[in-house]
């Protein structure tokens, strides 16, 4: 039998893929889960959480609801904690509540939602969210896109004082309302901040991430895959062989490990509709993380693709 160059390369590629496979679902799962502490309290949080916009907005479709419950189950089984949602995401909160009820109490669950309405309507909306989630109280309540933030912050501080929630946060995405966010981080007693940061959107490195560290604010990173656009752009290119030096066996882990290896990041919240993708994403919460030199190399690599 003759082996030409193409066959040889293809065989080598599939052999290396096979070699990587047991790592992603076998060895990786036995490595310790990476957690980060919430700066204000020292409480530990797994570095990968879960987003729910679009992915969990499936309305009353019974089949999709059960499928999302499977996604949620695999999230918890892989050691996940923080689930992020918002009343803006249609039925997502209700579908999370459905899943949590079916799965039963989860010790590690860290329930995070948002308030997204005019000031006066805030308390009623938060109470409605609590009922939809089926939880006694939220671990984290965030002001979505800084909407009516002065009014909501007052309410949230009161709720926190009464032990009706544990942490307060504010969110933006895609660098919007950047200046307002900085002002809030500098002057207000918030515990968490949420914004966008990924390999192609690194603006937060300039000010938001250093400021969060200085002010002891926990950082949640949204849109870690740019809503999936990172896969569209890079996934048909080969994953560099040196990615295995920091235990990455797929692009999802490459993107996520870049984010969580920034020391100011507490948690990234990728969203998915698929159990296999959830396994990949949660795999990023284990093993080695890229060093500063390796991070530079990652940036350079994707810039050249």
């Amino acid at each position: 039998m003759q082996i030409d160059r193409r066959t040889l390369i293809a065989s080598l590629a599939s052999m290396s893929a096979c070699a990587a496979l047991p790592f992603s679902i076998g060895r990786a799962a036995t490595l310790p889960l990476i957690t980060r502490s919430i700066p204000k309290t020292g409480e530990q949080l797994p570095v990968i959480g879960m987003g729910s916009s679009v992915t969990f907005n499936v309305g009353d479709d019974p089949e999709l609801r059960d499928n999302r419950t499977d996604v949620l189950r695999s999230f918890f089984e892989a050691g996940g904690g923080l689930i992020d949602s918002s009343p803006m995401y249609g039925s997502s909160e209700e579908v999370i509540g459905y899943g949590l009820k079916r799965l039963g109490p989860q010790k590690k669950s860290f329930a995070a939602t948002k308030v997204w309405t005019q000031g006066g309507a805030g308390p009623a909306q938060m109470e409605n969210s609590r009922k939809l989630w089926n939880v006694d109280r939220f671990d984290l309540l965030q002001i979505h896109n800084l909407v009516s933030w002065q009014d909501h912050l007052e309410t949230l501080l009161e709720m926190k004082a009464q032990n009706k929630l544990r942490y307060i946060g504010v969110t933006t995405s895609h660098g919007r309302r950047h200046r307002d966010l900085i002002e809030i981080m500098k002057t207000q007693p918030v515990d968490f901040v949420q914004f966008t940061y990924n390999l192609l959107n690194r603006r937060a490195e300039r000010d938001l991430l250093p400021l969060a560290r200085e002010r002891k604010i926990a950082v949640i990173i949204n849109r870690p895959f740019r809503r999936g656009a990172l896969f569209d752009r890079f996934a048909n290119h080969p994953l560099p062989s040196w990615a295995s030096e920091f235990d990455c066996s797929n692009w999802a882990q490459f993107f996520l490990k870049f984010i969580i290896s920034h020391s100011s990041v507490t948690c990234a919240i990728p969203a998915t509709t698929r159990v296999d993708h959830m396994h990949e994403n949660m795999g990023a919460a284990r093993g080695r993380l890229p060093s500063p030199a390796q991070r530079k190399r990652m940036i350079q690599y994707v810039a050249e693709l």
Partner: protein
Amino acid sequence: MFELYDYSLSDLLLFSRETYLRLLGRYNADMWPSQIAMMILGGTLIGLVRSSKLTSDRVISVLLAAIWLWVAYGFHIERYATIQIAAKTFAVMFIIQAILLVLIGVIGVRIHFSLSGGLINRTGLGLVCLGVFVYPLAGWAAGREWGQVELFALMPDPTVVATFGFLLMTGPRPNGLLLIIPVLWTVVSGALSWEMGAYESLLAPATALLTVSLSLVQYMQSVSK
């Protein structure tokens, strides 16, 4: 409060194409076999246009109003609102259109349908046929399952397309007030379809463009007379 510049179009599309198509599939399954009745209704409306009587003008307007009301309730409120946070606003738009049809066409008797045979009038008939009979094929041709296609009197887009057609069959030109909401709807739905990658749904904005252009032509003609 909600500064719109804080949101891009993709921020406002908060469900996937799969979820949307499955919602249509479940809606169609629940409504079966009324789809056939709705096609017969569409054909009956065309027959009424042919009869060119004052009473048929009123009947067409009242039936169109009822169809817009049904889409507001049966689709927007009952179904779409489970995944689309703006669906109730869309329902209000559709209810206002139904009220306008009753006020202008039934109480005011200011809409007169006819098959005059002119180019614009025939285009109107073509749009009605497109909305009532051809529209489901567009979804199917774009790869949807049969159960997930959109139908006249059940879904907004084909209803709007057929309504454009009926309005182009009124003389001397379509009532401008009755065009506002359908055109606005095609802008919203076209933008969301674009974002979702459901390019077959761009048919509706295309018919809006055609209807507005033809109405302008009719307006210019009537001014220059």
